[in-house]
Symmetry: C2
Subunit: 378 residues, 2 copies
């Protein structure tokens, strides 16, 4: 194929692309900054000036224009519309209660499929940090071209450390797709490993992080959803059939609460991989899911002559021989003296003090606070 | 002397006793709990239910009744009157600006001396923690009896650790005063020692902490003040002469700002000791000047099954594997995870995070905040 005709073909394919942004998770490990009423994706966690959801939208729009759908909780409607004033009512899917990723992404697939059965959707979580833009877009372009050959394509992330917090994807052979030179088969998805296993994975060069980024024809997504989760599929079809008509709210209110909760990985990705329908495009961009406050420390620079990362507009922090991360979501003066690797998160009604090493345990603290009835700050 | 006549003599002497409570220091090392507008003596730092100044007053009243004078800043008038509703206007001496302890205690001495030249005054700082009451009162009784023989009497504290934060008093020979069997001479006052020297002091058994508690005839206090600080003495006399008349405010406003700042130790105690006019009564009660947050940790019990001391009414603290001190002066939820020997002080407009080891350095932080213009939280 000539490069001109490849360009034309690719352009046609890219016009089928539709971005989907599931904005569901609270980000419990980022409590008390992130919480039910103000989840992670509504915060600017990198000092970029944009909230994570705004940055996610802006990252997709060079490819998708305004063909971007957001799936979020009804409670976040106003905040999401404030962040994304250009989003149309048709592209804002509201969940009355959280039903995990298969329902959220599956409903987007079913709605988009009814609008245009040729759609290639790309699902990118609202609360991740990615850069640089061009490297990301090139990976998505390859993923779309690969998806057009009839594949569910996951973008795997080249690991930078032996993380035990992510699942991994073992890379198979190259697919040799024109316009998608780095696309490969997926040999298998593997669950979060032990540290020893993670080290082996990273050393081998064959394993990439599963960042939960999927690009696929809506038809293929739905086909696997039907095969693996027929009840979920049937419910989503019922809602999607009514979505663009006058019965939307009534049908959604009746059916959504009955849907089973299951992750998209189990409902679609893993069985589809076993059936040989999943490909991978490696992402060489930097990627962080900002899973805890230690991540926040990694993502933010320290001020000059300081070992302390300070996050928050108008923060008033005095430090003497202190290192770690301070998140200031209040206007209070914060003084840190002679303390290392500390994490201090200061909000108007709740304060967290821990260490970078214990950042993952914030989740248990939130569960304990919930159990103790301190729901006003969760 | 028969024990009856000793009792009668002692009773006569004790009727000359007048308590004086200098309530001056801000307690900078207890920032942000203690600050200019709410100094240390206005806080309940031991969970007793009483502020330190109220507890100091209650400790003296079994001996002094309402013969207790308070010297404090004009800014604290309302707060002190709220704490001590029984105090008369005659017994509340207000300083328009801080002039150190010689001026504060010297003015009390000069006023009381004019009211009754037989007065034996006892000066006890408003921000110390002392117990048990009976042991304290017995030491004060002995000090008053000793003072009546023509001595300035300091109550030395039997040291419980080789502190480098206090001055020490070297004990001389027993004085053999009837009714004051434990009174001794003072060999010398010594400045805050190095840790090695402090260890030697404590091991020797001859050195006691200088807690700044003085009991003395007002006449003798004023005599030494006149000899050592004639300008200060003259100014204090001018104010005291006008104090109980219509010119009080006018004279005080004119003279007080001109007075030299000097500590009572240098202006009276040390030169008087050199002249052989100072005696000591050892105090075997427990004593703490609550000098920093590490002291606050020592003075408060941890909750059951916890290594964390929590101070503050209605504190909402969640801790997981944390030890140290939390002072909650706000209604916020505070979560501490996996952090040891931490000090967290949470107030509505300022937060301190440090360690018990670095508790003394809070003073420098306050100075730095002052220099940076953050005076709203000081």
């Amino acid at each position: 194929m000539s490069s001109l005709s490849l360009f034309l073909m690719t352009t046609d394919i890219l016009e089928r692309f539709y971005g989907v942004i599931p904005a569901g998770g609270v980000g419990t490990r980022l409590w008390p900054l992130s919480r039910a009423a103000a989840p992670k994706f509504l915060h600017d966690l990198t000092g970029s000036g944009s909230t994570l959801i705004r940055a996610t939208y802006d990252r997709l729009s060079p490819l998708a224009g305004e063909r971007i759908m957001v799936v979020t909780g009804t409670a976040h409607r106003a905040a999401v519309c404030e962040q994304l004033p250009e989003i149309s009512d048709a592209n804002l899917v509201l969940e009355s209660e959280p039903k995990d990723s298969a329902a959220a992404i599956g409903l987007a697939a079913a709605i988009l499929h009814r609008r245009d059965p040729e759609t290639i959707m790309g699902s990118f979580a609202a609360d991740q940090v990615v850069g640089p833009l061009e490297v990301f877009l090139e990976a998505v372009r390859e993923a779309v071209v690969t998806a057009a050959t009839g594949k569910i394509v996951t973008i795997g992330i080249r690991p930078t450390l032996p993380s035990t917090g992510f699942g991994y994807i073992r890379q198979g052979g190259r697919l040799g797709i024109e316009g998608a030179p780095s696309a490969t088969d997926v040999a298998e998805f593997v669950e979060k490993p032990s540290e020893e296993v993670a080290r082996r994975y990273v050393a081998s060069g064959d394993y990439l992080w599963n960042a939960g980024m999927f690009v696929a024809p809506t038809s293929l997504m739905l086909q696997h959803l039907e095969a693996n989760e027929p009840a979920l599929y049937a419910g989503l079809c019922e809602i999607a059939d009514a979505w663009d008509g006058p019965e939307r709210d009534q049908v959604a209110a009746r059916v959504w609460p009955t849907l089973p909760k299951i992750a998209i990985d189990y409902a679609v990705a893993e069985p589809a991989a076993a059936a040989g329908d999943v490909a991978m495009v490696p992402g060489t961009f930097t990627w962080d899911d900002v899973g805890d406050f230690a991540a926040l420390g990694r993502l933010n620079p320290a001020a000059e002559n300081s070992k302390l990362k300070v996050i928050g507009e108008g923060a008033r922090v005095y430090s003497d021989n202190a290192s770690g991360v301070v998140v200031s979501d209040s206007k209070r003066v914060i003084a840190l003296i002679g303390i290392d690797d500390v994490v201090v998160v200061d909000t108007p009604d709740a304060l967290l003090v821990t260490t970078q090493e214990h950042a993952q345990q914030v989740k248990q603290a939130v569960e304990a606070l919930k159990a103790s009835g301190a729901v006003d700050v969760l």
